[in-house]
């Protein structure tokens, strides 16, 4: 059975399987979502109208036994940025889709009425049922009920109350292996796009799925073996390494020491109270409380950076508290209490809000006087406004830039309308170049992987050095390629240092595709994805002026280094320029 596309027309509630075009054969994940969006979506359409489309695609090796490969991409025109969007998540849902040989679900049109639907997808059909009974309900209870109704073997993706409000900071929520609504394709308002069409949940049941077709078993096996060896021996990715021991939050103390952990809406780069919300403290509390650490966000991940945070006695599990989320809802709001952060993260998951955008929003809301910095309880109350669908809740659900405008705040940490993540670009310039120039809007993952050495063109590694165009471009290109494979970005740490690991990645791709790619093909493949995304953005009206950081990063010095973001516009334009 060949791969298929499931095309879902929400105008007339029709879902049908189509052949997967032969010229898409080498496309998966981000390569596929961005290609379909660029081909099928009018760049000038309203992101929440009938002419936008939402595409969900597992990576090329997702669903196989390749380690740490259970990621998927969600693509559309973003209501937050107005440009193309790829949001990425790790979840068993992606593996189920891949095993059912569904290369992509394309959601199009818009249901006319005010009802919401659930789409149930099995091997040979896709059916709609009413989802109205879940409207206005939190996702933790809802996911429990959905698993009861559909059985605990299904995969679920869905949108919450924030998306019902068409909030531009709403994500699409996927279940983790425990069934918690905690794995988010969070960024860019992808949740609002799904909700705008009248779809609330997709439930996949992979009973009878044939599994992923592997055209060259030998190459695949050899590649998976090489990659597994790299991941289990490298200091960062091996069992007992940083990601496995502490999760991504190990970065809290590291970036605070580096003077680049933004505090109180990006007004300082260091505050030692951040130590109280560090990965080390969190790991210890999780152990005491009987949560889980380490944990895999999808079966088959051997890095296992994930975890399950909970209340004392193992009660009320939340899921993972990622570094970005802890920072956004913690230090960025002057909140240094892990239980407050945990409850804010729970509220975001329950409402279907992107934690980074929600934290950025809360930072400007606090600066605008809606709460005092540090007041975690008031922050939770503000999220109740979203839950209760009040006018204030509607403002907050639209994210950082919208809230800042409503509150008269001029220090607005966004690029292309999307909130900056947890590294201050005044202290770490390279990531600032990525924030400015990625087609995605401020996004750390866009230029985060693989090293300059592999790509052959160096970039200087001093965080204060301002010639960062080559470095950022190489990282962005490599990341785009990884996002197409379905591998987790964190494999980059190992494949960067261990050449056989990268060979293993390419071998597994060759195994699945029956191709003869080499490591040298990776940059060209990644660049072609970025080219497609930039083409869409250009047609949507983006120019170099959109590849800039907000003014206050250029004028306001950040302690402790007392530096501004001083990368020149010419250098920024050099990333994609001639």
């Amino acid at each position: 059975m060949p791969k298929r596309i499931l095309r879902v027309n929400m105008n007339n509630l029709e879902a049908k399987f189509e052949d997967f075009p032969a010229d898409f054969a080498a496309l998966g994940g981000r390569a596929l979502t961005s290609t379909i969006v660029e081909k099928e979506v009018d760049p000038l359409c309203h992101p929440l109208g009938a002419n936008n489309k939402l595409v969900i695609a597992p990576g090329l090796v997702t669903g196989t036994l390749a380690p740490s490969s259970g990621r998927l991409s969600v693509g559309c025109k973003s209501p937050l940025t107005g440009g193309i969007k790829e949001a990425n998540a790790g979840t068993p849902f992606s593996q189920q889709l891949a095993k059912m040989r569904i290369a992509a679900i394309i959601l199009e049109g818009k249901h006319k009425g005010s009802e919401y639907y659930t789409l149930k997808v099995t091997m040979d059909k896709a059916e709609f049922t009413s989802a109205d009974k879940w409207v206005g309900k939190g996702l933790y209870d809802t996911y429990q009920s959905l698993f009861k109704e559909y059985g605990d073997k299904v995969g679920i993706c869905g949108v919450g109350i924030a998306a019902e409000l068409l909030g531009a900071s709403s994500g699409i929520c996927f279940n983790d292996p425990e069934g918690l609504p905690s794995r988010y394709a969070g960024r860019g308002g992808v949740g609002a796009v799904m909700a705008s069409k009248g779809l609330k949940f997709i439930v996949v049941d992979d009973t009878g799925a044939p599994g992923v077709e592997i055209l060259n078993e030998e190459a695949f096996k050899e590649g998976a073996q090489k990659l597994r060896k790299a991941l289990t021996t490298h200091d960062v990715t091996k069992p007992g390494g940083a990601l496995n021991s502490y999760g991504t939050s190990v970065l809290v103390n590291i970036i605070n020491e580096a003077g680049g952990l933004p505090q109180r809406n990006f007004s300082a780069g260091q505050d030692d109270r951040s130590e109280k919300v560090s990965g080390e403290v969190k790991a210890e509390i999780i152990k005491e409380r009987g949560g889980k650490r380490p944990h895999a966000c999808n079966p088959g991940c051997i890095i296992q950076c994930s975890e399950v945070w909970c209340k004392p006695g193992g009660k009320d599990p939340v899921g993972v508290l990622e570094y970005e989320s802890v920072w956004a809802l913690g230090p960025n709001c002057g909140i240094y209490d892990l239980d407050d952060v945990g409850e804010l993260n729970r509220a975001c998951n329950d409402l279907g809000l992107d934690t980074i955008e929600a934290g950025g929003m809360m930072g400007v809301a606090m600066e605008g006087g809606l709460a005092n910095f540090g007041d975690g309880k008031k922050a939770l109350k503000l999220l109740d406004e979203v839950k209760n669908k009040t006018p204030l809740g509607r403002i907050l659900a639209n994210g950082t830039a919208f809230t800042a405008q409503a509150m008269g705040v001029t220090r607005v940490p966004v690029v292309k309308g999307q909130s900056l993540p947890a590294y201050d670009p005044r202290a770490i310039k390279g990531i600032g170049v990525t924030y400015a120039t990625t087609p995605q809007g401020a996004d750390h993952t866009a230029g985060y992987a693989i090293a300059t050495e592999i790509m052959g063109v160096g970039g200087t590694a001093d965080p204060m050095d301002t010639s960062k165009a080559d470095l950022s471009r190489n990282l962005q290109v490599a990341t785009a390629a990884i996002d197409a494979t379905g591998y987790c970005l964190f494999i980059a740490f190992a494949v960067l240092d261990i050449p056989e690991g990268l060979e293993g990645v390419v071998d597994t791709l060759n195994g699945v595709l029956g191709a003869n790619l080499t490591v040298a093909d990776v940059p060209g493949y990644g660049q072609s994805i970025i080219d497609v995304e930039r083409k869409f953005n250009k047609a949507a009206g983006f120019t170099e002026k959109d590849d800039r950081l907000p003014e206050f990063f250029l004028k306001e010095k950040l302690a402790p280094h007392n530096t501004v973001f001083d990368v020149t516009d010419e250098e920024l334009d050099r990333v994609w320029g001639p």
């Binding site: 970065l251 130590e275 560090s278 080390e280 990531i431 470095l471």
Partner: protein, 95 residues
Amino acid sequence: MTILVKIFGDLRKKIKDVESDGALPLNLHMNTENIEYIKDILQKLSIEENETSHIFVNGVYAGFNKKVKDGDRVGFFSKNQALLYKWYFKREEDD
């Protein structure tokens, strides 16, 4: 004349006689006597160089040969905390 030395993660276990507060870093106020370089601090604390990962001096990513002085803030991370986008950081040394 002291240097603030912050000890993170499992390295805290190497420091005897100092009460640790949960998993928070240890803050040691070390006398600068006989301390010129980062490596001198490690020696005083009986920490091997290969037991460390990231080292910061006043927010600057630093190596074993970085000079230190009165009033500096130094952070040592344990081996199993290695997680930096090393392409964003270069170790600063002084010799």
